[in-house]
Amino acid sequence: MTNPIRAWYAGLTDAESNVAWSVGVLFVLFVLGVASGVINLSYGLYLLALAGMYVLLSLGLNVHWGYAGLIDFSVAAFWGLGAYGTALVSARDSPLGFTVDPIVGLVVGLALAAAVAVIIGIPTLRLRSDYLAIATLGLAEVIRSVINNQSTWTNGPSGILGLPLFFGTWPILGDVPRGAPTYALDVCLVAVFVGVTYWALRRLHLSPWGRTVRTIRADEDLAEALGKNAFRFKMEAFVVGCVVMALAGVFYAHLQLAITPGALDPTQTFYVWIAVILGGSGSNRGAFFGGLVLVLIVQGTRFLGGVLPSNFPSAAVRLLVIGVLIIAVMYARQEGVLPAQHELITPGTTEGNDE
């Protein structure tokens, strides 16, 4: 008798089984916490939904940095484009006056991010990689100030309120009571988003496309000499990653039912960078794990804030924890916790790299 779980476990590396164990233990603790009432059920579900969102962001940045070596400092901005894209066309309070279905909002958010990615990519992706870093650093600020200042389009600093729930107009799902049930739906939604994204990115990564992009990351001149149009591949990687980030933004907007420019804070971008580097650049599992750790740090320190005395500087401690953690990981394991180890060859074509 073959036990697929046992077989899967046997195939894991030490790092992978350690991670599997820690995630498992954390999840059990989390479930116990919710069951015993220490963690409020709605909040618990909200945390899960947020974890999914951070995983999406890490997966997106992993396409940029991990796959293609693109240094992108506008994670928060592309996330914000997704969030604002859907908010502008679906929210009751949108200054544009549309109230389309969130599904259309999703398409608008992703398309907006893709379009901006192409516009910023055309002048920068032909140049050395530092130019993209500088351009995206600037872009993040530009997008934030446009949103802040173009009040007639975006409501400016007060943001857009009154977004519908993602399933708000759906037959049965639209009628579930607010609170834990809608959060449960959000968790399901983000699970689908993460699942589909993970599957699609994995397929892309383990393909000639992924291999060429990895070659460009390692040595762009060599890739060009072998007939690969580096600009085209970098552009594709850039757009794909930005779309995934925007997907996280769309989800967030319909989770919070509101979006303000304050949410586009650049600190978010650096959190996501930490998640990707900590998880292991170039590895989808690493990005997934990094996203989970991120929500643990960001929300966990907040959670502790309730237990600790009120004058405890929890925001500063959070940054300190993140700083210490990243130094510790880089010191002990430079390549991240779950580094990329696969050959990028389409599964099923060699022995040993079947799914």
């Binding site: 000639p208 990895r214 001149d221 072998l226 990028l344 060859i345």
Partner: protein, 270 residues
């Protein structure tokens, strides 16, 4: 023109050149590194390109393969103008080059690096990866098979699963040549293929280059090792101070006074 086996300057107007260079110019600052270079590489030949250090050989490769933008002149590959084109476009036109210093691919195994070679893979399109799965897998299988055959041919199949970063310089040169053949080039430009390679491996490399030439690949080879290049290539083009000094058969070039002068009795007799 005479019937001498050696010509003053380049021999142009060959019947079927894969690569045609006319009036190529390149200056860095005030330094004219490529000075009105004409060059024909006839299909089916192994053409040698020699010249003292700093003569402009690598620069000529960079100009021809699209890595440098020429100040003037034209480059044609298989009759198609590729002057000023991007390197990948030149490669697509049939001209593939290797680099003077081998390029290691961080994080890739040898067979994975080999699979970067084949041109126009269906699976290089984001869309096809999802919509044309069957063809992607079939091509991948065929390419992998070909990569393994090629590695066997170059006697490095045992390194197929080895990370490229763990190879020695000589082994890496073999992988580079093997990978370049995966692109199905019409002409391969090799920049010092045996620099830093031990004599046994250098001899092997010579044999491989000849075999590939028999299969129909034209070569243009830069090499400082005179015995190696004179044995391998015919004709030999001598570059000096950015222009073609002479072109001729190895025996005539080796004993030509102008060539000896250019080298000032240097590496020629090494």
């Amino acid at each position: 023109m005479s019937d001498d086996a050696i010509a003053d300057g380049p021999v142009t107007g060959k019947p079927d050149p894969v690569l045609e260079v006319r009036g190529l110019e390149k200056a860095f600052g005030g330094l004219q590194v490529t000075d009105d270079v004409d060059l024909d590489v006839e299909r089916g030949t192994i053409t040698g390109l020699i010249g003292p250090n700093g003569a402009g050989k690598s620069t000529l490769f960079n100009l021809v393969s699209g890595f440098y933008e020429p100040d003037g002149g034209t480059v044609r590959v298989n009759g198609t103008a590729v002057t000023g084109a991007e390197p990948h476009a030149v490669a697509n036109a049939g001209l593939v080059r290797t680099f003077q210093t081998p390029r290691k691919l961080e994080g890739m195994t040898v067979r994975e690096a080999m699979l970067v070679g084949p041109q126009h893979q269906t699976g290089e399109s984001v869309l096809s990866v999802f919509t044309n799965r069957g063809q992607v897998v079939a091509e991948e299988r065929a390419n992998l098979e070909r990569a393994m055959e090629t590695l066997e041919r170059f006697e490095i199949a045992r390194f197929a699963d080895t990370p490229a970063t763990e190879l020695s310089g000589g082994q890496m040169k073999l992988v580079e040549l093997a990978r370049a053949t995966m692109t199905d080039p019409d002409i391969l430009l090799l920049d010092e293929p045996i620099a830093g390679v031990n004599p046994t491996l250098a001899n092997k490399l010579k044999g491989f280059i000849r075999d590939l030439n028999d299969d129909g690949i034209t070569f243009l080879v830069i090499e400082h090792d005179m015995d190696f290049i004179m044995d391998l290539a015919d004709p030999i083009v001598v570059l000096d101070q950015g222009s073609v000094l002479v072109e001729g058969d190895p025996g005539s070039v080796r004993t030509d006074d102008r060539v000896i002068d250019a080298y000032l009795g240097g590496p020629l007799d090494e």
